[in-house]
């Protein structure tokens, strides 16, 4: 069965691939070419992102009263952040939110992708319909759901015949509603990535499997999923880091009531609303480290897939 396999030939330093002699490149070695190709991206990202990140880190080591600079603070801001109940509560909610919504988005997104990949009448409209939730700007979608789930005027309640049910005002349900809104909005993103990934699986593999007597489920489990692994990992990676940074949905729908305050909301509060640049920056750095940690786990899985690639026939 085809799957991601390590290249059968060892790589030589000059990058000779399997097979024939390398054709001459005009002047630049492949290694140089590689560096040349990644240079614009690196330069642009460093140019824009590096300075603010360093600045934020420096600020996190300073003490402030409101916005007024008071002197060097060392790691005091970090200590304050790590002993703040708000921080830990938001961490808990953010993790719960992330795990639940990413799982749901993955399952639904995969279903959408498989469906969008089929040929049937009205598939164009179906694909467009599936993408609609995702193209609506998040700030608007958040307001829309706040309005719809609110008791007044009670759109959702009227639809489901639930009278006065207070979706946004009851402890457990608030979380469910926020997760629902996020899943609704971003499952299409996962679907899109997985759909593109499905295109890279050659149909003749399915043919030969069918000839060999594999049923639909076996084909899915043993061919589709493994070959889709890279796309799945990319989708999961970016959905996870996005979910860890969720801000608009809980901010607009619940203002963080009933333990639905996310990490980003806490950061936002200390940077904008009740400004303490030192504490805000410390919280940002902590958030960054946490999310990066999660991301690194994914990258280590993904990295081998991407850089080693696959061969199949």
């Amino acid at each position: 069965m085809a799957g991601s396999e390590v290249a059968t030939e060892p790589r030589t330093p000059s990058g000779t691939g399997p097979g024939g002699r390398r054709p001459r490149t005009k002047g630049v070695s492949e290694k140089g070419l590689g560096r040349l190709f990644v240079a614009p991206a690196i330069l642009l990202m460093i140019g824009v992102a590096l300075f603010p990140v360093i600045y934020a880190f420096v600020v996190s080591l300073r003490a402030y009263t409101g916005r007024l600079y008071e002197g060097y603070a060392g790691l005091e801001n970090y200590r304050e952040a790590l002993t703040d109940d708000k921080f830990w509560a938001s961490l808990e909610f953010t993790f719960v939110f992330t795990v639940t919504s990413v799982t749901a988005e993955f399952v639904i997104g995969l279903g959408f992708a498989l469906l969008m990949n089929q040929a049937f009448r009205g598939r164009g409209i179906t694909r467009a319909a599936i993408l609609v939730p995702w193209v609506i700007p998040t700030v608007i979608a958040a307001q829309m759901w706040y309005f719809m789930f609110n008791v007044t005027p009670g759109s959702v309640n009227a639809l489901l015949g639930l009278g006065d049910f207070n979706w946004l005002g009851e402890a457990g349900w608030v979380k469910a509603v926020v997760i629902f809104a996020d899943v609704w909005k971003t499952a299409p993103f996962v679907a899109l990535l997985l759909l593109a990934g499905l295109q890279t699986i050659p149909t003749d593999i399915y043919e030969s499997a069918r000839v060999d007597g594999a049923n639909a489920w076996q084909r899915f489990w043993h061919i589709t999923l493994p070959l889709l692994r890279p796309a799945i990992l990319v989708a999961l990676l970016f959905r996870t880091v996005e979910a860890l940074r969720v801000y608009d949905l809980p901010q607009v729908m619940t203002r963080g009531s009933f333990d639905t305050e996310s990490l980003s909301m806490v950061v936002q509060q200390y940077v904008v609303q009740t400004p303490d640049p030192g504490l805000g920056s410390a919280l940002s750095t902590l958030t960054f480290v946490i999310i990066l940690g999660v991301g690194v786990i994914f990258v280590s899985f993904l990295g081998r897939e991407l850089t080693i690639g696959r061969t199949d026939g």
């Binding site: 008791v151 207070n166 009933f258 009740t274």
Partner: protein, 425 residues
């Protein structure tokens, strides 16, 4: 092969498109390069509905320009929400830019802005303003004994009630709850709708209850904290009971001003606590049953005497970085004390003015009459530099408490700590 040719065409089309767009990059605006008002021009940074073209702020600006052709003022329209306005003003002020000369500030920002050195002191024009305007509004423009802004408009809370369901507006909160629960059950609608969502509006509602129980926050010059934890606990417990017993309408804890108005004007609540803006809107947009059968009254208290409401509104301040300080100062004083301007606020926009003489003139308007009754006793939230911090602490502590998720007494202690900290600095 065809595939690659098609792709080649796409690439070319994309490149061409980007060239065209890049050429048309960032359309230049007709006016000068933002910031830096040479000559006597003034920029008024204010947001909200009235700042839009056609709004009353624009008419006021036009009036000023007629009378002061040497110092024309233009409005820089800020977003609708106060938080967003503050963000945008802060961005400009923090960078020391002279882009804004006059700042339209919410009454609770005075301390914060002055602490950061963003405002020009108005102590030299104090005497021109103080005798003419409402005391509460004037106090909201002061911090640390100094005057930092000129009041512009104000706001106070009303009790809206259904005249077909309630004979006499209640004088105490207990009475209100009694009626609310009774009538609510009869008519199968909610009792009292207010602003109970976890935001500044909730702090306003809570304070109105707390103050009406006799509670205080600071002393005269904000040097001492007078926060009473027992009264605070009682207040929170009252809200908790009101919620459980059905006095508070369903959805109270997720409602802001607009949800409250929607509930009341569609007939789903007996009482509403809201700002005066809703008065005209309910008449115009409410369902006929409500539009023809409602009235306004002062908010009840726990003691049954008098009335207390929270003070809202906006002040005009002069930016410390302005290059036209004198003209700007003239403008803010003029906007606060000119009878024509203040009357325009009331008549053209139903915005409560700060000039006391206007209220005498407009006694036959029900909302103006009620305002003149209520405003003398209206209490401002202290415009302390740390007010946002205190407010957030109050929201964090008191919201779960009144929803039954936390202990009211502990919540009161947390809030007291927040107030005490604010004085220590």
């Amino acid at each position: 092969m065809r595939r690659t040719m098609l792709l080649g065409k796409w690439a070319i089309a994309a490149a061409a498109g980007s060239l065209v767009v890049a050429a048309a990059c960032t359309p230049s605006s007709d006016d000068d390069e933002g910031g830096g008002d040479s000559g006597g021009e003034l920029t008024w940074a204010i947001g909200g509905a009235e700042a839009q073209p056609g709004g009353v702020d624009q008419r006021i600006a036009d009036l000023w320009n007629e009378q002061n052709p040497d110092n024309p003022i233009t409005i820089e329209v800020l977003p609708d929400e106060a938080d967003q306005q503050r963000e945008q003003q802060v961005n400009v002020l923090q960078s020391g830019s002279d882009e804004f000369d006059v700042l339209g500030m919410d009454v609770i920002w005075t301390g914060e802005y002055s602490q950061n050195g963003w405002l020009e002191s108005l102590d030299d024009v104090r005497d021109q303003i103080e005798p003419e305007v409402l005391e509460g509004a004037f106090n909201s423009a002061q911090w640390g004994g100094e005057l930092w802004a000129a009041p512009f408009n104000t706001n106070a809370g009303f009790l809206y009630y259904r005249t077909d369901l309630v004979d006499q507006p209640p004088e105490t909160w207990e009475e209100l709850c009694q009626i609310a629960e009774q009538v609510g059950q009869q008519e199968d609608i909610g009792g009292l709708i207010g602003q109970g969502f976890k935001y500044e509006g909730f702090v306003v509602n809570w304070l109105e209850l707390y103050w009406s129980a006799g509670g205080e926050l600071y002393n005269e010059d904000q040097s001492e904290v007078l926060f009473d934890t027992d009264l605070a606990t009682q207040t929170t417990e009252f809200m908790q009971t009101a919620m459980d017993d059905g006095c508070l309408a369903p959805g109270y804890n997720t409602a802001t001003e607009e949800e409250g108005r929607a509930a009341f004007q569609s007939g789903k609540a007996v009482f509403m606590r809201n700002w005066p803006y809703a008065y005209q809107l309910i008449q115009d947009e409410g369902v006929p049953q409500v539009a023809n059968n409602f009235d306004i009254a002062p908010l009840p208290t726990f003691t049954g005497e008098g009335t207390i409401s929270a003070l809202g509104g906006f002040n005009n301040a002069v930016s410390a970085y302005s290059s036209n300080t004198d003209a700007a100062k003239e403008f803010v004083v003029w906007a606060a004390t000119d009878p024509e301007v203040q009357k325009m606020l009331a008549t053209a926009a139903s915005v409560p003015p700060v000039l006391t003489s206007v209220y005498d003139e407009l006694q036959n308007e029900p909302d103006m009459a009620l305002l003149s009754e209520v405003l003398p006793d209206a209490k401002p939230r202290p415009p302390a530099p740390t007010w946002n911090t205190i407010s957030v602490e109050m929201q964090d502590a008191l919201f779960p408490a009144y929803n039954g998720d936390a202990d009211p007494a502990e919540a009161s202690d947390t809030v007291a700590d927040a107030f005490n900290e604010s004085v220590e600095e």
